[in-house]
């Protein structure tokens, strides 16, 4: 269980104790409209395109060279790739896979200072296209997400976001 420690945080305004822990990572409403789609990853082995989003506040902070702030949310959205009649992958004029409109799985990672997990303040969740939490065995612990993202501690547990910011800044 990766979400072992439940952190306690004192609310500065009300003085109440806020407990954070499992299942706290929500799917933000209207993220496709309000977040920034900063990268698309062609997942050849699964014939999918993974669309990456970040909340604008986090992008602004990172662009200024600041650490990712409390409340940072990164979303990875699956789209099946366009296939030809012979089931082969189709490419656009730039040599990229062409995502279908329909959304498949939605994975969310959120940074919250009130949480303490194996990956510091990050926790993960998996939602279906209907916006409901996945009921799969994987989703019960999200151990796979914790383990894989732990390979990028130097980028604050992100695979693509800090690389994107670094590349943009030249």
């Amino acid at each position: 269980m990766k979400r072992t420690a439940i952190a306690l945080a004192l609310s500065a305004t009300a003085g109440t104790v806020v407990m954070a822990g499992p299942d706290e990572v929500k799917l933000p409403q209207d993220y496709q409209k309000n977040f920034v789609n900063y990268l698309d990853v062609d997942r050849f082995d699964r014939k999918r395109v993974r669309r990456m989003y970040v909340n604008p506040e986090a992008l602004e902070a990172a662009t200024k060279g600041q650490p990712l702030p409390d409340g940072t949310i990164l979303i990875m959205e699956d789209h099946d790739a366009m296939l030809g009649a012979d089931e082969t992958l189709q490419f656009d004029d730039n040599g990229r896979l062409i995502p279908q409109d329909a959304v498949g799985n939605i994975f969310v990672m959120e940074k919250n200072a009130a949480w303490s997990t194996d990956n510091e303040n990050w926790d993960y969740a998996w939602y279906g296209a209907d916006g409901k939490p996945s009921t799969s065995e994987f989703a019960k612990t999200m151990d796979g997400c914790f383990a894989c993202h732990a390979n990028r501690t130097e980028r604050d547990y992100t695979f693509t976001f800090w690389k994107f910011v670094e590349d943009q800044s030249g």
């Binding site: 062609d42 997942r43 050849f44 082995d45 390979n151 130097e154 695979f159 693509t160 690389k163 590349d167």
Partner: protein, 105 residues
């Protein structure tokens, strides 16, 4: 004369197809070798996991980003270079395992 023209056309067509080059990158010791590849559009890179651990080919660079999936020991994966530019390759499982690819049009 007619046969000569046909032969010349065939030769030209095969010459065009033969221009695509294949590069081989190995992964033993958790290192991509070679650590950089300079290629042309249409060339391919065949990634060979000749190591004893799982590796993969993950590109986080914008406009080139892709993932070829996990490669168990002995597995191979081929990337067709369809987009010109420079991009970085990383192993998802081993952050220090990196290489660079430059694709000219």
């Amino acid at each position: 004369m007619k046969y000569f023209i046909i032969f010349a056309l065939c030769t030209s067509a095969f010459a065009g197809a033969a221009q695509a080059e294949e590069f081989v990158v190995t992964m033993s010791g958790a290192d991509y070798s070679p650590a950089s590849v300079t290629a042309s559009l249409g060339d391919t890179i065949r990634f060979v996991n000749d190591d004893g651990f799982d590796h993969n080919v993950f590109v986080p660079t914008a406009s080139h980003a892709l993932d070829l999936g996990k490669q168990e020991p002995g597995a191979e994966a081929t990337l067709v270079l369809r987009t010109p530019g420079v991009f970085d390759v990383e192993c998802v499982f081993h952050g220090n395992m990196q290489m660079k690819v430059e694709v000219s049009s």
